[in-house]
Symmetry: C2
Subunit: 488 residues, 2 copies
């Protein structure tokens, strides 16, 4: 135990030691039943006499903070904790701390969620895929197999680009999706979020401009805002980004990156048409702007014609393709990847290394053992069947329970239904009523560059709830609509 003591202070050493331990116990940082070091040991550690430590322990005992038990040493007794947590205090922070706070916008759209009264059996239309679809016992078996097979190797750092056999498996999965790549052009990341973050670090500096679809994934907006980037939104419709409107935006704003989710977009569910895909690649090439393709659920198609990934149309090194196992398998795995070629790939590997050295080798190896191309496709098929039924249930329930003024385009895949409320209705105000009624969704503001543009939108995730709960949830949402109409 390392206790700060000061031999030049007037306070006796035993009292300094006792004071430190007293504060540790009362603040809860030394938990009840913790055994204090033996007096001989602590005396040696601190370079004081054993009597000094004995005196300190005796003082704590007379305070009722510890008990000395014959043969088992000195233990902390349960206490009513007195001290507030440090962050909660009104302490004067050092000046650099106040500077750090001032320089940064903690921008997140106000959603009206805090302080809401919440129903005890809340049905939530938020989140991503349904983790109950994941065969958790089989994954545990894969972890066990890999620990027996690889021994201590699965506890070491491993290849900074990611476990090579897992990169090979990903290359095979991508090939089956029409994206031809080599394992040496794949970098494993901690979820797709880290892939986006590394690309932002590699290519952008504060004040640079990023062009995004409007609306788009709020986690990307938060990332770009945290890096103090300027955001330009390109309007989107039922066929994705309106690429026809792109060129004047590129000429006017000179973005350093175009971020797009071409398949079953988050939040809108739209798929970018093939003609727009070709046009987007051509424009990015003409204006020399890197394209970041976030293909978070491209395989979850329930009907309609598949579209090639932008990466598959890329004549070479223009598109960075980001994928993930989080949405389809398990968010808690934190395994995503980026495909890139050329100097940018090397730069991303370097940044991955300085950011966190590597993604957990144990999880990477477990995933590699668990997943094969065939197993992956079987999982996609199974998930698609289940999620399609849930989408249908959500659309039917909306038609049944919600006012006719609610507009939506039925998505052909993915996880989300994106709905526009009747004119003048606020999704944030509705949410407060909805949560009280026992249902929640993601209000639209957080997905827009200009949050006001999203006031009348809501995103409903249909993948995480059963068909029955979807019906019940939308019925409750209908109640909230009625209440809001009556308030107006």
């Amino acid at each position: 135990m390392r206790i700060p003591i000061d031999r030049e202070q007037a306070t006796p050493l035993y009292e300094q030691i006792a004071a430190f331990l007293r504060q540790s116990i009362l603040s809860g940082s030394l938990a009840p039943e913790t055994r204090l070091p033996a007096t001989r040991q602590l005396a040696q550690d601190l370079g004081v006499s054993r009597i000094t430590v004995e005196n300190a322990y005796a003082a704590l005992e007379s305070d009722g903070l510890v008990a000395r038990r014959a043969g088992s040493g000195t233990h902390v007794l349960p206490q009513d904790l007195l001290l507030p947590r440090q962050s909660g205090g009104s302490m004067e922070w050092p000046l650099w701390q106040r500077d750090a706070l001032d320089a940064v916008q903690f921008t997140q759209a106000a959603t009206g969620e805090d302080g809401d009264t919440v129903h005890p059996n809340l049905i939530s239309f938020t989140g991503f895929g349904d983790p109950r679809m994941f065969p958790i016992a089989e994954f545990l078996k894969a972890l066990k197999d890999v620990i027996y097979r690889d021994g201590y190797a699965c506890m070491e750092f491993g290849d900074m680009r990611g476990y090579p056999p897992l990169r090979a498996t990903i290359a095979h999965v991508l090939a089956s999706q029409g994206v031809q790549t080599h394992p040496d052009n794949i970098l494993i990341t901690s979820g797709s979020q880290q892939a986006l973050a590394l690309i932002a670090q590699a290519l952008l500096k504060p004040g640079d401009t990023v062009l995004v679809e409007s609306p788009t994934y709020d986690g990307a907006l938060d990332l770009f805002r945290a890096h103090q980037l300027k955001l330009i939104g390109c309007p989107a419709d039922a066929h994705g980004m309106q690429v026809e409107q792109l060129e004047p935006l590129l000429q006017q704003h000179h973005p350093k990156l175009i971020y797009t989710i071409p398949n079953f977009q988050n939040p809108s569910g739209a798929c970018l048409s093939l003609a727009r895909r070709r046009q987007l690649i051509a424009l990015a090439g003409r204006y020399n702007i890197p394209l970041l393709e976030d293909d978070f659920v491209g395989e979850l198609r329930y009907e309609g014609r598949v579209q090639p990934a932008l990466k598959a149309l890329d004549p070479g090194g223009r598109v960075m393709y980001v994928g993930t196992f989080s949405k389809l398998l398990m968010p808690g795995l934190r395994i995503g990847f980026v495909v890139a070629e050329g100097p940018i790939y090397e730069r991303l590997v370097q940044l991955k290394r300085v950011n966190d050295l590597a993604t957990s080798t144990l999880i990477q190896r477990g995933l590699e053992v668990y997943i094969s191309v065939g197993r992956y496709h079987a999982h996609v098929r199974r998930s698609s069947q289940v999620y399609r039924k849930r989408r249908d249930a959500l659309v039917a329930a909306i038609q049944r329970y919600l006012p006719a003024g609610v507009h939506l385009v039925v998505p052909q895949g993915g996880l989300f239904v994106w709905a526009r409320l009747p004119d003048g209705m606020s999704a944030a105000r509705l949410l407060t009523l909805a949560r009280a009624a026992g249902v929640e969704y993601a209000p639209g503001a957080r997905f827009f560059v200009q949050t006001a543009d999203g006031e009348s939108y809501m995103r409903l995730n249909f993948a995480t709830q059963t068909v029955e709960d979807i019906g019940e949830g939308v019925r409750r949402l209908g109640q909230a609509f009625n209440q809001l109409s009556q308030q107006r």
Copy 2:
């Protein structure tokens, strides 16, 4: 399967499909034995007739690329792979790619390691702790317990700051080390490297100056260089950073951060004296500079008096304390943490979220189940006993086998012996001979701001090899010294 096809091209559709699949097979991205989609399915996916797909598959079959087996579909045959990997080509990258490369220094000190002839039974004095000290079977059991106990919850994202019970455990471990904190001031990171990276992102912008010990941890230097920061080294001796020399450096260079490893420093093994600790805190306060304390192996003390962490001497919010389970337990876990208070804590949480959302909840929960304060201390004691013997073996072997001109200070803990070679001898040149003789170490240049300052130093890790292999490794190193002397 998503295959890019173009209906406006002169090339027939079946030939476009066949060409895409042919390249996928020859590049290895479609592996042998992969089953191609059923013709009906692919036709539907691509919006073409089934005959078109049949014709494409027939073309591939006549090329000897696939085999059609009755009842089990069309399979890829093994091939001699023909195409080079994409990164290896002499392709013209887009202009923005060349810009991205030019703007960045891929600085890592040249170490002369590449291209060396390496002995088949290399004894390596590199790395960190010994993963064989980690009870891997018990950790697997903890993972199993947590999966049965928590079910799908351990597959979800969880609290962005880290799994709350694990933060509570860390607070208890820290309290036992004399650092009083609250779980709400702890942020779990992907290893301590991510903690350093988040702090750099939070507080520094390109061109800012960071003050470090010289020498210091190469992973931190790489991180700071990747962010295009200026580095100022403060000289260090056997008692750590020479804090007496610090004030003029602060006045001259106005650093935005001081980075220090006060305990068993990497690479020097030195411990900062208590007087210097107090002086460092006072100076950081007076000049309003944040202190980053990297305590990567502070608990691994083999003798001598324990010193309080800088964090324990911090009157409030000046010091950010970074710790890790990687060195003591398993690098492959990728679990570290940072302790901070005030606005900077909130900023670090925000950056963690935009960088990778959260660290694997499964691993966090497994670690929390595995580790208790008592078990952690038992593990520290066991490791300390083993590593102390290895340190003694390394020091004895150096005295026996290496020339008298090799200087070192015996470290009182940690993982490393830091040795200075006889005048004029290059650790990088010696390394080439050493690797041929069957032993390696970390040459000194990579640990210095000015790499030339490290030419005559080597860092030897004594923790990862057995006592026997340490003796044999240093004997081989002695051979390399002899060879190098003869070359001169």
